[in-house]
């Protein structure tokens, strides 16, 4: 790292070569006012507030876009500079609609803040735009975001944030005559604009020009913010819930290790809408045998009733007649207790999530690493722009930064428009395609070793199976093999993909490996917590006697050595071998639409704990009202195995209880003593039993970025990469 010596306000400073004056000053504790500037995103020198004096030049320079040179003598404060800064603000104000009293940005407006700081109350100028802005079509058809051109100060933060952060380019610069326009895509036809409604533009607007419509509901000073993990997908974005008077009124991006200030439509909007929905359950419900309808019940009665029924069924039909389903949106602590209840109280290993079983032991780096350092990205059977939008943004960023992209999919995938090469395959032919890729690697001498499974799958054969030009299969294989760093990002990890990565030598290094994007928000956590029929917490197999002994001694009961049923198998066994089912926060009717309805009806007893009366809950005999992610403490594990905190922002509606409390009551009622533990204590128990989580604790997570598991040794920063173990990729997917 080369440094240069500069003088700022009479002080000698040694700063990094090519630093902007603004950053150099900041790093030396000198603050220069800015309005349009955003580090690494917007440094176009529009607002001119950061002007500084440089010795030897008559002109002034914008500190945001001027780089330091050795020996530069810079002054950031002077009478002229102060007066000019005020003048800039007066000129800006002249074209800025100042209805601050009713403006959604009041209190969080950067222009307001800086005018106050500089002592600018009003403007003597008339402005040049007149009512040009008023005559432009209103930009408020988008349900979430509106653009009010009259308040726009044309700093272009939104345009560059859309380009550089969301990497979408839906916002553009436009023009009329001599005037700049922001071409915001929020008027009629916004659906076709390519805008993902991520809201990043509004989050960076320094005024009330671009606002989230819901922001009218609160003022910044009325709110507090709670840092948590977004519950909508498995990327693990960090966000802050905005709370006013005990209600969540908004969500904003935080600088998390995966998202770094990004948030998508799901996170910003969908995540919080259920929290205060009027349809929330607040009373336990018991189905009346006589009427077939629900009646409200007390917690004691509902828990006792459910426990009795499960105990009866177990006594009558045996251990394997009971099972539990764990929702992919639950925290690790919830999932841990749920599987513990199934294993200890039900006596079987019939516990499972019901997302496509993600393969856990893939070789993986963090989602940011694999997108930032990749030369070639093989995207296979995944549409992150739709399912994991922030990962989609990261992929678009990678392509903008020069990564080559190969898209393999049977669906139309938006990222295909940016792909160097696209392989649009017939549905269900992914394995054939991967074998085709392996065949090319082997036959062209690009592979470390050979692959028997691929011997017959020449590019021509695979091409005809998949309905793809064989040239493309060869090119994709060559491109993948030739790259230094090339991750596979996929919907579901398979043995074939792991083999492909190994054949091409793309394992065990940063920026390589196989990265399934978990379909469920905490899909990775579920499996890590043992909410899977063949493993205990920490991926330790139930049929391993030594492991079982450890868990038996920890939990104080005898445990079944026999792997249990997964969700699909449970539904098939319902009414036959399987008589009773406990569903934690999962709508099976939506998740497994084929046959869930009938299967659930065939059960002798169904208990559901959920936030809403879902179609699944409607079929239950007992329904427990549980709490949303904003109402509980806990952790979840992102698709790239980073453990992060879920924090309580608001009190649950009266009557609803945390999942862990409900499960604890159930366990006690079924005769397995389980102390009432806080989620933090539950995590301590997990850390003691699951070697991969050794060292994870809520207090640690509160102090640093979530570590990536495995995470042995309390103070280590977690693993950046993991090599597949012996059991690698044995998922039952």
């Amino acid at each position: 790292m080369n440094t240069v010596a500069v003088t700022i306000n009479g002080r000698e400073c040694v700063v990094r070569e090519n630093r902007s004056i603004l950053r150099a000053a900041k790093e030396n504790g000198i603050s220069i006012p800015t309005l349009c500037y955003m580090e690494d995103v917007n440094y176009i020198g529009s607002c001119r507030l950061c002007m500084v004096e440089i010795e030897g030049y008559d002109r002034l320079f914008a500190a945001c876009k001027t780089r330091v040179k050795d020996g530069m003598v810079i002054r950031t404060e002077s009478e002229t500079l102060t007066e000019y800064r005020r003048e800039m603000l007066r000129l800006i104000l002249a074209d800025h609609k100042t209805d601050c009293m009713s403006c959604a940005a009041n209190g969080s407006c950067r222009l307001q803040e800086i005018c106050a700081a500089c002592g600018v109350r009003d403007t003597p100028y008339r402005g040049s735009r007149g009512d040009v802005d008023a005559r432009l079509p209103a930009q408020e058809d988008n349900p979430f975001i509106r653009y009010d051109a009259g308040k726009c100060i044309h700093c272009q933060r939104c345009v560059n944030a859309c380009q550089e952060i969301a990497c979408s380019g839906a916002l553009k610069n436009g023009r009329t005559g001599t005037m700049h326009l922001v071409d915001a895509p929020f008027s009629s036809g916004w659906q076709e604009s390519g805008c993902e409604t991520c809201g990043i533009c509004a989050s960076v607007c320094p005024t009330g020009a671009l606002t989230l419509k819901r922001d009218r509901a609160f003022r910044k000073w009325e709110t507090e913010k709670v840092l948590t993990t977004c519950p909508r997908c498995s990327v693990g974005c960090q966000m802050r819930l905005i709370v006013k008077n005990g209600r969540v009124v908004g969500a904003e991006a935080a600088d998390g290790p995966a998202n770094r200030g990004r948030l998508c439509e799901k996170g910003r909007w969908e995540s919080i809408t259920p929290i205060h929905a009027p349809e929330r359950l607040t009373k336990p419900l018991i189905r009346e045998e006589s009427t077939g309808g629900f009646r409200e019940a007390s917690w004691e009665e509902a828990v006792r009733y459910a426990a009795e029924r499960f105990t009866q069924i177990r006594q009558r039909y045996g251990e394997n007649s009971l099972a539990g389903i764990v929702g992919g949106g639950l925290t690790n602590e919830d999932a841990y207790l749920a599987q513990k209840m199934v294993r200890t109280c039900f006596g079987s290993n019939n516990v499972s999530g019901c997302g496509p079983q993600s393969v856990t032991d893939a070789v993986t780096g963090s989602i940011r690493d694999v997108t930032a350092g990749a030369d070639v990205i093989l995207l296979l059977g995944a549409d992150p722009e739709t399912t994991h939008p922030v990962a989609g943004m990261l992929l678009r960023r990678a392509v903008m930064d020069g990564a080559k992209l190969i898209v393999v999919s049977s669906e139309d995938v938006g990222l295909a428009d940016r792909a160097d090469v696209q392989l649009k395959i017939r549905p269900g032919t992914e394995t054939a395609l991967v074998r085709g890729l392996m065949n090319v690697l082997v036959t062209e001498g690009l592979a470390d070793g050979t692959e028997a499974a691929a011997a017959e799958f020449t590019a021509e054969t695979a091409g005809s199976v998949c309905g793809v030009d064989p040239d493309r299969i060869r090119e994709a294989a060559r491109m993948y093999a030739a790259a230094e760093n090339a991750p596979i990002i996929c919907g579901q990890g398979t043995k074939e993909l792991a083999r492909l990565a190994a054949l091409a030598g793309k394992t065990g290094r940063a920026g390589c490996g196989v990265h399934p994007l978990c379909g469920q928000p905490n899909g990775q956590g579920l499996r890590d917590m043992g909410a899977a029929p063949e493993v205990f917490p920490g991926g330790q197999r139930v049929d391993d006697a030594e492991t079982r002994r450890r868990f038996e001694s920890a939990w104080g009961v005898r445990l079944s050595p026999k792997p249990g049923l997964n969700a699909d198998e449970m539904l098939r066994a319902a009414g036959g071998k399987l008589r009773g089912l406990y569903v934690c926060a999962e709508d099976l009717c939506a998740a497994l639409p084929d046959g869930a309805d009938q299967a659930l009806e065939a059960l002798d007893f169904l208990a559901v704990q959920d936030v809403f009366l879902t179609p699944t809950a409607r079929k239950a005999h007992v329904v427990f009202p549980s709490v949303s992610f904003a109402e509980k403490e806990g952790t979840c594990t992102s698709t790239d195995r980073r453990v992060q905190r879920v924090r309580k922002a608001v009190e649950p509606p009266e009557g609803a209880r945390p999942d862990t409390d409900i499960l604890t009551d159930m366990m006690n009622a079924m005769g397995c003593p389980q102390p009432q533990l806080s989620p933090a204590r539950i995590m301590d128990e997990i850390a003691a039993l699951a070697p991969e989580y050794a060292g994870v604790s809520h207090s640690r997570l509160d102090e640093e970025d979530g570590p990536r598991v495995p995470c042995a040794g309390g103070m280590l920063p977690g693993t950046t990469m993991r090599q597949g173990r012996g059991t690698a990729l044995q998922g039952n997917g």
Partner: protein
């Protein structure tokens, strides 16, 4: 008392202002709203009004008000009609040219930019493609990152500069020698002093870092797709270069013995030494899977139909190699040669001995200048260039000046009547003196025969620099659509109604510049890739240095000088005297870095 005008008179001082105004107009940035420009021009006209006659004094002000309402988005739907009627009235009634020309200018705007009027009146904004962009990169047809490579030169990284140029244009050397440098036309430096000598800087870069010694980007793995490129000139080779970097196989069919097209067979060696052209060609051929089949003419050795069958796509870049003859008697007499043929033969080594011969050239374009200066080098006793008017001298000023210095004589206002022959050889040409007449509707000066007698000029060799055309007969027979001997292709270089067949360069546009041909090759390569269903990206490893504050002290432009005319006219050795390092660094230091300051740092503010 009579007085002479004082040195410090208002008029003198205004002249200085006007000089600056002129340079501002010259450097009017690309991508501006034409109506905003028209309005400021109208206001200039209003400031020229003496205030006597009503239509000019009051009418123009009303026209300005209407134009203002259009620009502010509050114009009524019939505003263009009202503006038109008003300006027709002013143009018909104003007392002097100030009012008449101002009104005509507004009428002109209504005719030339109806789309922009419509957009402002109906949507309250400019059409979508109006946005200011960096002048040099925008005006370069290939959209080379000009400020970027100048900054690299300034940092002493000439290899980086060559890499950055080649990101868009694989002929850095050839363009360093012969490019018409449209990039310089609106250089923002013009506002301060004069445009940068961009071509001169490029020349410095390729002299320091020879093109074939500078790495090309790593080619993509093979895609298995094969593309036939017909014509190994700048357009065809550019297309092949980018296709090869994308991983495709490009097979170039070249009629001549060597690749290069007009760069080799049209441009004389004293402007572009062939060994320097070879540097570019070597780098192109080594960049990836490019195969060149010289001495192979489509329609003779290989059929167009076979190319369409055997390749995944075809790029036709056959140039415009046939020199036009005049449709007049004796035009095919011995010693009457089209300039293109004359230059091509000279380049191929089949030189004519012109010792003691009087040579006459008809035509004033760059090819005519090349022919004239070549004739000088073949020891002609005299070389005369005749044109109908001074405006017909369309060659670059430096070419005309160079020819003059080397003794080429220019006569204008003479129209060519006929060729006199004796025993089948040209003996003399007859020329009719002209007088200047009106401008036609394209703004070109027309001439009329003067009443003076025609003029007989004795000559031994007549060279016709009257244009070139493409040899499309064979392709036409194969069904390739043409229009006036040009292949019918659109701006995406796609041939009308022939999927997978692309065309660009001189054979589509008619004779034009190397950089236009290169731009077409680049566009075709990327569109062929898209046509085949890919979006291959090509890496560029050059990093543009950060911009540093420029004090903008007015500083003279460094020109490329030519060697002593008396020395240089005796050989085909290169005539340019390239910049010294000292000159190049100073010139590079003049660059205002419009990629960093002004619109260049805005999203969408760079070009291409």
């Amino acid at each position: 008392m009579k007085k002479l005008e004082s040195k410090n008179s208002m008029n003198h001082r205004i002249d200085i202002v006007l000089q600056k105004f002129r340079s501002k107009m010259e450097a009017y940035p690309p991508g501006m709203c034409p109506l905003a420009l028209y309005r400021s021009l109208l206001q200039v006209s209003m400031s020229q009004s003496c205030g006597k006659c009503v239509p000019c004094r009051d009418g123009l002000a009303e026209a300005d008000r209407l134009l203002r309402s259009v620009l502010r988005g509050d114009a009524a739907g019939d505003t263009s009609d009202r503006l038109r009627k008003l300006c027709v009235m002013i143009a018909k009634t104003a007392d002097c040219a100030v009012g008449v020309s101002a009104a005509q200018m507004v009428l002109d705007s209504l005719e030339k930019f109806p789309d922009e009027y419509r957009s402002h009146i109906e949507d309250g904004r400019c059409t979508e493609n109006v946005s200011q962009t960096v002048p040099c990169s925008t005006l370069c047809p290939a959209h080379v990152n000009v400020p970027g490579y100048i900054a690299l030169i300034r940092e002493g990284d000439c290899a980086g500069a060559v890499e950055l140029i080649r990101d868009r244009n694989p002929f850095p050397t050839a363009c360093a020698f012969v490019c018409e440098h449209p990039c310089e036309r609106k250089c923002r430096r013009t506002i301060v002093d004069q445009p940068l000598n961009i071509r001169g800087l490029k020349r410095f870069a390729v002299d320091q870092a020879r093109a074939d010694q500078v790495r090309t980007p790593p080619a993509n793995v093979k895609t298995g797709k094969r593309i036939a490129v017909v014509g190994g000139g700048p357009s065809g080779l550019t297309c092949a270069y980018f296709l090869a970097l994308m991983g495709h196989s490009a097979v170039v069919y070249e009629e001549h013995d060597q690749p290069g097209g007009m760069l080799r067979y049209g441009i004389p060696a004293y402007r572009l030494p062939k060994d320097r052209l070879d540097e570019d060609v070597r780098a192109i051929l080594a960049a990836g899977d490019v195969e060149i089949r010289c001495g192979t003419r489509v329609g003779r050795e290989v059929r167009f139909e076979d190319l369409r069958r055997d390749y995944d796509a075809v790029y036709l870049a056959i140039g415009a190699q046939i020199g036009n003859r005049l449709p007049m008697e004796n035009a095919d007499a011995e010693n009457v040669v089209p300039a293109a043929d004359f230059l091509q033969k000279t380049a191929a080594g089949e030189t004519m001995d012109l010792s003691g011969k009087r040579v006459v050239l008809i035509g004033g374009g760059n090819v005519a200048m090349d022919a004239a200066r070549t004739a000088v080098r073949l020891h002609a006793a005299s070389v005369h260039v005749f044109t109908r008017s001074r405006e017909d001298l369309t060659a670059l000023p430096e070419e005309i000046e160079g020819a003059m210095q080397e003794g080429v004589r220019f006569r204008t206002m003479l129209s060519f009547l006929h060729i006199e022959t004796e025993e089948g050889k040209v003996r003399a040409v007859w020329l009719q003196p002209q007088i200047a007449a009106e401008y036609d509707r394209f703004g070109r000066l027309t001439t009329e025969h003067s009443s003076r007698y025609p003029y007989r000029f004795k000559c031994d060799v007549l060279i016709l620099g009257v244009g070139q055309r493409s040899d499309v007969a064979e392709l036409e027979r194969s069904g390739v659509p043409t229009e006036r001997s040009r292949i019918a292709a659109d701006e995406a270089c796609m041939v009308d109604g022939m999927p997978g067949v692309f065309s660009g360069g001189d054979c589509v546009t008619g004779p034009s510049t190397a950089i236009n041909a290169i731009a077409a090759g680049q566009v075709a390569a990327f569109n062929i890739d898209e046509y085949l269903g890919y979006h291959h990206k090509i890496a560029c490893r050059a990093n543009v240095p950060f911009a540093v504050p420029n004090p903008c002290v007015p500083t003279g432009r460094t020109e490329i000088e030519e060697r002593d005319p008396f020395e240089r006219k005796d050989s085909f050795d290169e005539v340019d005297v390239p910049m010294t390092r000292e000159e190049a660094l100073r010139e590079a230091g003049r660059c205002l870095r419009c990629d960093h300051f002004g619109c260049g740092s805005m999203e969408g503010g760079t070009c291409g």
